[in-house]
């Protein structure tokens, strides 16, 4: 009986857990975009009917792109990090061959048409001291491995690509080869530079047959300095380029079995080269960037004769960085002359295909595969709403009338006349055009569901994406900047500040992104309008700060223009405010501002108070210091709560009708430290620290637990997951903090005045899956219950209600507990397929989930990013404030009309009957 009750309760919960969508709702609220990452290797296939470009990227992806549209035909995501690092990719018509991994190389051959895996075999990395590098190439259906060993020799091994059997192995003696020797592969030759005194020698080895050629560079290049660089020129012929550092031109050499041939012309050193085969000959393609134009030219390799039909220039898209030619093919055109297809890879990770002579065919913004910061912002109000706003904006008063009802009335009349005028003008077709945002439909809707997703990529690019369509509205490329790197985890991040939202009409919204300079590491702020992408400071929006930034945050109050200042703490503990005008606001709040910094390596957490600030300068004074780690331990994460979060319910009603008050401390930060010691093995410690008072509120330790560790910190609870080494499974632990049956302070929480110890409830669960990222849902007022979004390694995004993770879930349920609404404890969390919010839209390599409230209390907008991007919306407590999609408006209108008509008719009939009766 008891068992059946449990089953019943669970079933009811399972029914409540069905957030899945109907089939016809697919793609209605969500979209997915797939990416491949920064290109590393490319191979163009022009033989088959659907022309494809095969690519391998730094995200360990092998893919085929449709050459006409740039869309992904097939894609394979290999193992993560080093294990799947692609060392080599090439194709030979029938097979695409990849070599990936470190230490153990996995060689895979793929079917070019459908991407099926044809064969897979491994080669172990030879354990040799003084190993310089290992190179790979594909030549005549054989895979060659070139192992260079310093001061010794070069080993060349040929493998059969499908079976993995060794075909041959050759050894070339190269005792002159130093550890820093620069050797490049120009299939089927290996070219090396060797410096002997003042002389620079170029060795070239034939890798398929024996034969070594050695020549002094000065013999055919004239005087040669020792600072010479050697690069291979991609393409169908063994060509290398030799450039002297500081020279404006470079030479190219064609390697041959019996020596080298020098290309007759010198080329500018900035030119990007590629050798494409054309019928029987070879063409050297040359690309040069000149102030917004890409100048292209082609000449035959053998004679150096310029080809007139390949000369031309192309307007270069402004958002695109300079690029290299990754691959190119030339073919005769239908009409006459020649045409080339050139695959460009730019330094902002974009992949573009040019049809030369002609235009850009497509551009793939692969910068979106490495997103470092995300923010979702409201759109501005529509033009008509803006006019109303203007009417009530007192600053706009310029009629010389005092405010008050007379002034308001005059203003209203004036604005209505203006509205009338604009209406007449619009009808006549003379009116001023609507604003750009209005035209593009980028205006706020009534439910606040239409927003702008602003993302900053590690590639130094910022994008504005429409959340409903997923379309890129604007993009900005930032030069010479890079994101900050987390010292402990190596993840990129860029602090994003929303200084002013769109709510403060007529001032535009303003956002700032904190990055650092590529060379000096000093802080750089990019200030821009998030709706249009227009820079709002200087000409390019970049403000060099001139110091290294240690900590940064946004003031919680704005200045007169409603602009919130950014407070920056530099390496010397000096404080700066951006913009200057926010200084007075910062000074006014200084007594209550506390800052903290954490050093991941030393484990030192330092708290600063701004109480000593004067009107002229802000002074940060150290007020607390704690040292969390000793020995090999490091701080790997510092997680605070979302600053926009609101907690609606202050307590939890228990079965006996008493209230258990939540411990809601906005200054509480979770700090994770990880380390290794012989007793505890891999351990992780979690500290809950009040960063104003510097006291450790709670700390907990797990033995034999290792990464991936993910933490979600919200309201009065903390949730974290780790991989248990002991049980070899992912475990999730939840902690909930309560003040007790009495609330210490009902108005506001004070960290300094309330040193109380919270009661901590805890529970651990098993999740049958590997977690990539976790995030809690957030809504406007915090009334809707919270769900946890978990991105799993298999590409699914799971939505788990908080009740399932509640630390108060008891093993044996008492009636009181049942009254409270807690469900009995089950160690394993289920993964029902209805709770996968991205149904079959697999999202690979999730790096983060961003949640933001919409205008509807029930709905939370979710943006998942990583290699792919996925956007959807979730309603944790169902859409209680929204009519159903299939709500029958017609029926309800018909019923209402019918009722009204009937009541009128019956009224008439009743009065007639009453009259008749009166006459009786």
């Amino acid at each position: 009986m008891k068992y059946s009750v449990t089953v019943f309760v669970l079933l009811t919960w399972a029914f409540r857990w069905s957030f899945c969508i109907y089939e016809d709702q697919i793609g209605k609220f969500d979209w997915r975009q797939t990416y491949i990452g920064k290109l590393k290797f490319a191979y163009l296939d022009t033989i088959s009917t659907t022309k494809k470009a095969f690519v391998a990227t730094e995200e360990n992806v092998v893919a085929a792109l449709n050459l006409k549209t740039g869309q992904i035909v097939w894609r394979h995501v290999l193992e993560k990090a080093d294990q799947g690092e692609i060392q080599f990719m090439d194709g030979d018509g029938d097979d695409i061959v990849t070599v990936s991994g470190r230490n153990i190389f996995v060689v895979r051959t793929w079917d070019p048409h459908n991407g099926f895996l044809k064969s897979e075999w491994t080669v172990a990395q030879p354990l040799i001291r003084r190993l310089i590098d290992i190179k790979w190439f594909l030549y005549q259906k054989q895979l060659f491995q070139v192992v260079s060993v310093a001061l010794s020799d070069i080993t060349i091994t040929a493998y059969n690509i499908s079976a993995g059997t060794k075909v041959s192995s050759d050894l070339i003696h190269a005792p002159w080869m130093a550890q820093d020797s620069r050797c490049v592969l120009a299939v089927p030759y290996l070219a090396c530079l060797d410096k002997v005194g003042q002389e620079v020698l170029l060795h070239s080895f034939s890798l398929t047959g024996a034969g070594t050629q050695t020549k002094s560079l000065s013999a055919f290049m004239g005087e040669v300095k020792t600072s010479v660089t050697l690069e291979t020129v991609g393409g169908s012929q063994p060509v290398v380029e030799v450039a002297m550092v500081g020279n404006s031109s470079k030479h190219i050499l064609l390697l041959e079995a019996n020596g080298f041939t020098l290309y007759p012309h010198q080329l500018p050193s900035a030119a990007k080269l590629y050798v494409a085969s054309y019928e029987k000959s070879s063409i050297v393609l040359q690309a040069l960037y000149m102030e917004g134009w890409l100048v292209l030219s082609g000449s035959t390799l053998e004679t150096g004769k310029e080809l007139s039909d390949l000369a031309g220039k192309l307007k270069y898209p402004s958002g695109l960085g300079e690029g290299n030619i990754a691959a190119a093919v030339c073919s005769p055109k239908k009409d006459k002359g020649k045409g080339c297809r050139i695959l460009l890879v730019t330094d902002d990770h974009a992949i573009a295909l040019m049809s030369h002579p002609g235009k850009f065919v497509w551009v793939r913004e692969e910068a979106l595969a490495s997103i470092a910061a995300v923010e979702i912002l409201d759109l501005p109000v529509s033009d008509t709403d803006a006019a109303i706003e203007k009417e009530f904006d007192h600053k706009e008063m310029d009629f010389g009338v005092s405010s008050g009802f007379v002034g308001m009335f005059v203003h209203r009349l004036a604005s209505q006349i203006l509205q009338l005028r604009s209406l007449v003008l619009t009808i006549l077709g003379l009116g001023e055009p609507p604003s750009a945002g209005q035209r593009a439909g980028l205006v706020r809707d009534e439910f606040g569901l239409h927003k702008m997703i602003v993302v900053a990529s590690s590639a130094g690019k910022v994008f504005g994406i429409d959340n409903l369509s997923g379309e890129i509205i604007w993009q900005q490329r930032l030069e010479n900047v890079k994101p900050y790197v987390d010292q402990a985890t190596g993840k990129n991040h860029a602090p994003f500040f929303v200084q002013r939202t769109t709510r403060h009409f007529p001032s535009p919204a303003q956002c700032a992104l904190l990055l650092r300079h590529k060379v000096t590491d000093e802080g750089v702020l990019f200030v821009f309008n998030p709706i249009t992408g227009q820079p709002l400071a200087e000409s390019d929006g970049l403000i060099s700060l001139g110091y290294k930034v240690k900590q940064s945050f946004l003031l919680h109050e704005g200045n007169k223009e409603s602009l919130r200042g950014i407070l920056l703490l530099d390496n010397e503990d000096n404080l700066h405010v951006y913009p200057e005008s926010a200084q007075s606001v910062a000074v006014a709040m200084a007594a209550t501002i506390f800052i903290f910094t954490a050093d991941p390596n030393s484990g030192l957490l330092v708290g600063y108070s701004l109480a000593l600030s004067t009107k002229q300068n802000l002074i940060a004074t150290r007020v607390w210091e704690i040292k969390l780690t000793h020995g090999s331990q490091r701080i790997t994460a510092v997680i605070s709560k979302s600053s926009i979060e609101k907690v609606h319910s202050q307590g939890r009603v228990l079965g006996d009708r008493s209230v258990l008050y939540k411990y809601i401390n906005p200054n509480l930060v979770a700090v994770l430290t990880q380390g290794f010691d012989p007793v505890h093995k891999q351990f992780l410690n979690i500290y809950l620290i009040d960063v104003v008072s510097g006291s450790v509120i709670f700390s907990i330790s797990h033995k034999r637990a290792r990464e991936p560790v993910h933490i979600v910190h919200s309201e009065n609870w903390l949730l974290y997951s780790y991989f248990s080494d002991k049980s070899r499974r992912t475990e999730i632990v939840t902690l909930e903090l309560y003040e007790g049956k009495v609330q210490s302070n009902t108005t506001a929480f004070s960290s300094v005045a309330a040193p109380l110890q919270p009661i901590v409830d805890r529970q651990a669960y098993i999740l049958p899956g590997m977690i990539e990222s976790m995030k809690e849902t957030i809504t406007e007022k915090g009334i809707t219950s919270k769900h946890i979004l978990v991105a799993l390694a298999n590409g699914a995004i799971l939505e788990i209600p908080w009740v399932f993770l509640d630390p108060r879930r008891p093993i044996t349920v008492t009636s009181e507990m049942r009254e409270e609404g807690v469900i009995p404890y089950m160690p394993e969390l289920p993964i029902p397929s209805e709770a996968i919010i991205n149904y079959n839209q697999t999202v690979q390599r999730v790096r983060g989930i961003h949640t933001t409230p919409s205008g509807l209390e029930s709905t939370c907008l979710v943006f998942v990013y990583g290699l792919d991007m996925f956007y959807t919306r979730v309603a944790p407590s169902k859409t209680f404030d929204l009519l159903k999609e299939d709500f029958d408006h017609f029926l309800i209108t018909a019923v209402l009309l019918g009722l009204t008509v009937t009541s009128y008719i019956t009224k008439k009939l009743a009065s007639r009957k009453a009259l008749k009766q009166a006459w009786k």
Partner: protein, 234 residues
């Protein structure tokens, strides 16, 4: 001048604060050197306040040696309290292996004065028993701007708490399986003795019957009345 306050022993009671872990794998002795500052400047000067000896970190037995406040210090504290300044305390901890770590903590000067120098020092330890934080608070922690006379600012009345790290929970599969086993056994042995009342047991059968009766009665009121009337007429 150097009058030592007699050793003040606190036996810390685990059930009040509930942060005694189940197993403490370590024990030892800790000594804290305290220095404090009443300066209201960025780089304050610290002066000796006293020492705290924690004889056993497992039990939390403590010996305190603290100097009383000098007249000068009292004035400084009151001046700091008026400016709403911060009283800063530096603690130097000598670990078992001889390493010295320094910690910094603060309280509002006014709350220290108004609590008559009753402060609480919390020493937080990590899983190996090393000190990670020393934090100070006062009891009571209030700032009302009351006038404090000098005699209340004589001796520190310090309480020391040692806070251990807790052991993380693990999924309790054993208890859950046990529970399932028990339920299965109970099912096999036949239904467990049901000691609920008759109504509680069979309400699901009774309610529909009652509803049916009520509904049929309500649907046909004059039919019943008519029959009754007919009977009377006969």
């Amino acid at each position: 001048m150097f009058r030592y306050v007699c050793g003040f022993l606190v036996f810390y009671t685990p059930w009040i604060f509930g942060f005694q872990p189940d197993i403490v794998e370590y024990d030892g002795h800790l000594s804290l050197n305290l220095q404090h500052s009443f300066d209201h400047v960025k780089e304050p000067q610290f002066f000796d306040r006293g020492t705290v000896d924690i004889q056993s970190i497992r039990t939390g037995a403590v010996t305190l040696k603290q100097k009383p406040l000098s007249v000068e210090d009292k004035q400084k504290l009151k001046a700091l309290a008026e400016k709403d300044g911060l009283y800063r305390l530096r603690a130097f901890v000598q670990a078992l292996d001889g390493r010295e770590t320094s910690f910094l903590t603060f309280v509002k000067a006014c709350s220290l004065a108004e609590s008559h120098l009753s402060d609480i020092l919390t020493v937080s330890l990590d899983h190996t028993g090393s000190v990670i934080a020393v934090s100070m608070s006062t009891s009571p922690a209030i700032c009302e701007g009351r006038h404090i006379s000098h005699e209340h600012l004589q001796h520190f009345n310090t309480t020391v708490f040692v806070k251990h790290m807790e052991q993380g929970p693990v999924p309790d599969t054993a208890a859950y399986i046990q529970k399932l086993e028990k339920e299965r056994e109970a099912r096999e042995r036949g239904e467990t003795k049901d000691n609920r009342s008759f109504l509680a047991k069979y309400w699901m059968y009774i309610v529909p019957v009652v509803i049916f009766v009520v509904l049929s009665g309500a649907a046909n009121p004059d039919g019943g009345a008519g029959t009754g009337g007919g009977g009377a007429g006969r």
